[in-house]
Amino acid sequence: MTVHEQFGDDLALYALGALSGEEKLALEKHLQECASCRRELEQLRGDAALLALSTSGPRPPARSKARLMDAIGKEPRTQPARTRLNWWAIFGWTAAAAMLVFVIGVTRHNKRLSSTISELSSMVEKERISGDEARRIADIMHAPDAMPYEILPVKMKMAMPTGKAIYSRDRSGLVFVASNLQSAPAQKAYELWLIPMKGAPIPAGMFKPDSHGMAMVMNPPLPAGVEAKAFAITIEPEHGSSTPTSPIVMMGTGS
């Protein structure tokens, strides 16, 4: 017996298709939320189906047939069935066909989903590998024991300050490494500039050389898609400057 006694009678009517109007709407709303009433409805429908099998039942009168035909006629894409087929059979076949279409749809959808899943997982795997590589490179460069080894022509005695900027316009990405730099004056720091083809130099990061004279700037924030004519370095106040305020100390164009 259901705990929702107030819906008990309505469920029986609903199973027979004899509930209408607001009561029907109220029950349908309740059914969405109530599993026990749904189970009860299934049972009642089973009971109602017994009526159809009951040989002592009267023959369906014209009115029922008219109602069914009317309902079928309102269905989209249904041909007007003017045959003398048993109307229960028509109803059954319609339901079976609808179920078949539904199953085919679900199967296709499933296939699409599983191919999407495998695509995604191979993408994730690729991303993971390239991410690992990038992390490893960054790890080496940032390691506390990372030592710069300057490799120079054997006849050159003095190591010159050098800087190398690797810039990608498409990715607005910049990696800059410098070595043999003198330490910056007190309250000052080096500032890297991107010199565009047109317009004013764009700040591309502040840096101070470490005890080995080595410095690095990785991925400073840069405007998108700027073509670089050259990179330059000036000495600026520690907190940075939006335009160069001192003469360029180092500069290089792309090769």
Partner: protein, 55 residues
């Protein structure tokens, strides 16, 4: 099975299931209150269920 059922339940069930009347139409036709019709239909289905379970 239907033949063993009390007449009021049986006729309410028949009208709802075979003749396709709604509960309010049945109440109107038989002159019985709506609540009585509802109770009869449910009782009829329960009798049917019982009959199947015992056979």
């Amino acid at each position: 099975m239907l033949s063993q059922m009390p007449v009021p339940q049986r006729s309410a069930l028949e009208m709802a299931y075979f003749e396709g009347y709604s509960h309010s139409e049945i109440a109107e036709k038989t002159g019985e209150p709506l609540g009585t019709i509802k109770t009869r239909i449910r009782a009829g289905l329960m009798l049917l269920r019982k009959a199947v379970q015992t056979t």
